[in-house]
């Protein structure tokens, strides 16, 4: 739509006389994008040809980086599943007409969104075992449950806000129509409002889940051998920064880019009647 509209105007003599008309703007944009590509491409090429040690590269991929990658992937999958599930309930609490439920959900969001994830991880990691006498804490490898609990609690707050926004964006007439047909509030929510709220919230939820992936880098602080730890290991023994940096970048992008594709796919699937694609 927007394209054909602007093209229709470029043939117009009046517009072409101005310096910044549609055609020059388009060329300017392409020129800036070209320069940017050249600069970044050149920088990456310079790193690869002058900085990366390919022998070391091959040596550290397996098992160190592969293991770190699989560990992060596992934590992301579990954390995503749990945080989105919990977030839907947080969102429902946020739109509840029951004052108590609403207040609790709001307080939850304020706390977990208002304090840093790193702080929350430390509270769980060192705070919870302190309830037991020293050395008596029954769970070994407590850092892994800490990671899952921390990521879930923190991101459920963000997903909850996305879900609340999604529900608020569904016109009131939808619930009214459902109720006028004899459906209960719960039926109206489940059958009519939530499927639409889900679509409205998808982009924001996907955005949050990408942040969750990157938040796993904080887990280096609670001694989980994830990607940043792997980088620090290699760097501290070889003094080579760029070789492990490239691997870290590749590993994160191998999760975040497919995640974005999944969100796009879900959005396209929730495009009832196809006005978007």
């Amino acid at each position: 739509m927007a394209d054909s509209y602007s093209e229709g105007r470029t043939g117009d003599g009046e517009y072409q006389e101005q310096f910044l008309n549609d055609k020059t703007l388009r060329r300017l944009g392409a020129a800036v994008a070209g320069l940017f590509t050249l600069a970044v491409g050149g920088f990456i090429a310079a790193i690869i040809f002058t900085q990366v040690d390919f022998e070391l590269f091959v040596e550290i991929i397996h098992p160190q980086f592969v293991n770190a990658f699989l560990r992060v992937l596992g934590i992301v999958l579990l954390g995503s599943l749990l945080s989105v599930t919990a977030g839907i309930f947080v969102g429902l609490g946020r739109v509840s007409n029951t004052r108590f439920t609403n207040t609790v959900a709001t307080a939850y969001v304020e706390f977990f969104r208002g304090t840093p994830l790193l702080f929350q991880l430390l509270v769980i990691f060192v705070g919870i075992p302190a309830f037991w006498p020293p050395g008596q804490f029954p769970i070994s490898n407590w850092q892994y449950p800490t990671a899952i609990i921390g990521l879930t609690l923190n991101h459920a707050a963000y997903v909850g806000e996305a879900v609340r926004g999604g529900i608020d964006a569904v016109p009131e007439g939808q619930m009214e129509a459902a109720r006028s047909l004899g459906m209960s509030y719960v039926q109206g929510m489940r059958e009519v409002v939530l499927p639409q709220a889900w679509r409205n919230a998808l982009a924001a939820i996907g955005n949050d889940q990408v942040i969750l992936v990157k938040d796993t880098s904080l887990l280096t602080v609670i001694a989980i051998p994830e990607l940043i730890s792997a980088f620090r290991n290699v760097n501290s023994t070889t003094f080579d920064p760029w070789t492990p940096i490239i691997l870290v970048a590749i590993a994160y992008l191998m999760i975040t880019i497919p995640l974005g594709k999944i969100v796009n796919h879900l959005e396209a699937r929730a495009d009832w009647g196809g006005d978007r694609r």
Binding site: Q174, E176, A177, S180, Q187, Q196, R199
Partner: protein, 242 residues
């Protein structure tokens, strides 16, 4: 006993008194058309009839059962009251057929196959047999409103409420919706219709109820109301239409 009874109904929005002591009885098989200037309380009255709005005084009864009582089983009562909205309110994530089958399957526990057969019958009846697999955004406004009528009919209501159902439509699409309503009236459906379509009111209505400032100011048969209204408010309203 009338089918639908409004008994001294009072309704406030905050401080504003929007329905003042409204009495109105709708008989079985009757088409009762409510007209009046905007802000007169017509739509509010209709929305109170299936408790989308709470009333603060009086009582509303359907077939003798109170709709407005605190302990009324409203989900059950609403099954007998069909409602069609100005803004259609079709479910955008469901096809025309799914819009019609949703409530019968979820609320009445009808089997999927039976509900679908019934839905196709109803969609045929409103002239949309060929569009049953279309999503609302693939339909015109007039088609969407006809699906909405079929959706309400699927619950086998005893009375249908129409809330300015043609006001959001392009002029050339109004006729197809009014035709469906016309047929429905001829089949004997009890209807309470809020509308600005005076031609429809005159032709299809059994009664014209004029509301102004939250009150019923005239209640006459259409030939009386449009030829020789009984009240000054009625005359005044008619004079502004021309």
């Amino acid at each position: 006993m009338s089918l639908l009874e409004f008994d001294e109904v009072d309704k406030y929005f905050g401080e504003t008194h929007v329905l003042k002591d409204v009495d109105l009885n709708v008989e079985e098989g009757e088409v009762c058309v409510i007209i009046g200037p905007s802000g007169s309380g017509k739509s509010t009255l209709l929305r109170c009839a299936n408790r989308l709005e709470e009333i603060q005084g009086g009582e509303i009864r359907l077939e003798g059962q109170s709709i407005s009582a605190a302990d009324a089983d409203i989900n059950r009562l609403r099954q007998r009251i069909g409602m069609v909205f100005q803004s259609f309110n079709l479910f955008p994530h469901k096809t025309a057929r799914e819009n019609v089958t949703l409530a019968p399957t979820k609320v009445k526990g009808l089997k999927e196959g039976d509900a679908e057969r019934r839905a196709d019958e109803l969609l045929d009846r409103v002239g949309l047999g060929a569009q049953s697999n279309s999503y609302p955004n693939q339909l015109s406004g007039g088609q969407q409103q006809r699906v909405a009528i079929a959706r309400a009919l699927a619950m086998d209501p005893h009375v249908m409420l129409f809330d300015e159902v043609t006001s959001a439509l392009d002029p050339e699409l109004v006729g197809e919706v009014l035709d469906v309503m016309h047929d429905l009236a001829e089949e004997g459906m009890t209807m309470l219709v809020v509308t600005h379509e005076m031609g429809f009111a005159r032709e299809v209505g059994d009664r014209i109820v004029l509301m102004a400032d939250g009150k019923v100011v005239e209640d006459s048969p259409p030939e009386v109301f449009f030829e020789n209204p009984k009240t000054d408010r009625g005359k005044q309203f008619l004079s502004k239409l021309l």
